[in-house]
Symmetry: C2
Subunit: 239 residues, 2 copies
DNA sequence: GCGCTCGAAGTCATCAGACCTTTCACCATG
DNA sequence: CATGGTGAAAGGTCTGATGACTTCGAGCGC
């Protein structure tokens, strides 16, 4: 048992679930909170830091410690780092989740996407076409950005923050970079762009069935690429 | 920003992604690791503790600190606590995710569930029937356990650990208790049991389509209950 | 009166040192 | 060969002091 600092985590968690602390609340000072939970500042800070990483708390030096909004997007953020740590074999499992979630998100998005969001989606795809039009020397980083933003926009437009957060986190940068390199090597970047365009058409028509099906096909293709090229590339850390 | 302890987290994360540390590796001792990352023991322990909570590291007093298996089930575990902190309004969003994932998991499970797992599923549902047969005074806690175990078994049998972990975590105990109270108040416990039985039949027949459809109906019903009774019950903390 | 500057108090962040608890391996003993 | 003890090593905890940052208000100049 990592006893003392777990006491801190459980204690703060219960203070939240009991309603003593709500979103935006300020926590007692370190000394006081430590005394109340029966731990010294060391373990107390460990527990608080863990909750900060989980997106539950937020510390501001010189000011105090506060409870975050506790919204799904906030709390699911650390998922991103975890996806990053997955070995390539497990990427297949994560992609399977994406394959299920994204078509549903697209269908929802088709029903409720706003004109502003549609315009934004069009802008993103136009950037993608501009990148591809330069010829064979495609800017891979920029292509990945386009892909990421397009999928993120749809996930957000679904209106379900949990969808958005999970989808956003599920495929980390490393896996995504590896994937796109494979796609590029096989000259499939134009296929991807065309699939994106087809999805956008369905969104513009507010047609959930077409949006769902086209997103399914799209992600399925991504999944195939991953399965086939899972062991091709070494990992190169970016950040 | 969150300077020193974030340095620790990023540092360890990069040691893992770079391959210097792999699953099961032992980390350098605290003093040495701290010296290497340029931090003292305090912040170092904060960062390590955060990664322990995220399921990335594991500390054993008197022995050392080790990298965990890094499997999806391990890393997605903290999701459970986060679901617990969600306000009832957001439970709807989490259930929407469940509604998409669980039918797919059931379909996969139908194709690959083992005889042992089928036997286990039967035992679980028999327990559920035993609970219901006693009359009107139903043991709500035991019913919740049966429901949890049944869904968890199917998620595991899907063969995708990411499915299992997300489904398992998505509806926390508090939300689940609230939900079941509503179901019970409306005398719908028998309906639930019958739906479970129908799903099991599909699994025994290894029929993915029927499994998917029946799980869809089942979770959809759960979702309806949640939407209708989201604001009925106060939160009562259990643990 | 108004605005600006500066300082004091409060708070989190970090460092340093000491001591406790647990684990494991080695070794002596039977 | 088995067994138990002993000690080194590692993480866990506590304490005190110092630094960094934010906030707020008093004082000052205009």
């Amino acid at each position: 048992m990592g006893s003392r600092s777990n006491v801190v985590i459980d204690g703060i968690r219960q203070m939240i679930t009991s309603g003593e602390l709500v979103a935006g609340s300020r926590l007692p000072v370190e000394r006081e909170l430590g005394a109340r939970l029966g731990v010294s500042r060391g373990p107390l800070r460990e527990g608080v830091r863990a909750l900060v990483v989980l997106g539950v708390l937020e510390t501001r030096q010189g000011d105090g410690t506060y409870v975050t909004s506790l919204e799904p997007g906030q709390l699911l953020e650390p998922l991103g780092m975890l996806a990053e740590l997955q070995s390539p074999e497990n990427s297949v499992h994560l992609l399977a989740v994406r394959r299920v979630l994204e078509p549903e998100a697209a269908a929802h998005a088709a029903l409720r996407i706003s004109d502003d969001e549609l315009a934004e989606a069009r802008r993103i795809l136009e950037r993608g076409e501009a990148i591809l039009s330069v010829g064979d020397d495609v800017d891979l980083e920029a292509t990945i950005d386009v892909d990421t933003e397009f999928h993120r926009l749809i996930a957000t437009a679904s209106g379900n923050p949990a969808f958005a957060a999970i989808i956003d986190a599920l495929v980390g940068r490393t896996a995504r970079a590896r994937l796109w390199r494979a796609i590029h090597q096989h000259g499939a970047v134009h296929d991807t762009q065309r699939e994106h365009r087809a999805i956008l058409d369905a969104l513009e028509a507010h047609d959930p069935d077409r949006a769902r099906i086209r997103m399914s096909v799209h992600v399925l293709g991504v999944e195939d690429y991953t399965e086939r090229h899972v062991d091709e590339q070494p990992v190169d850390d970016v950040d």
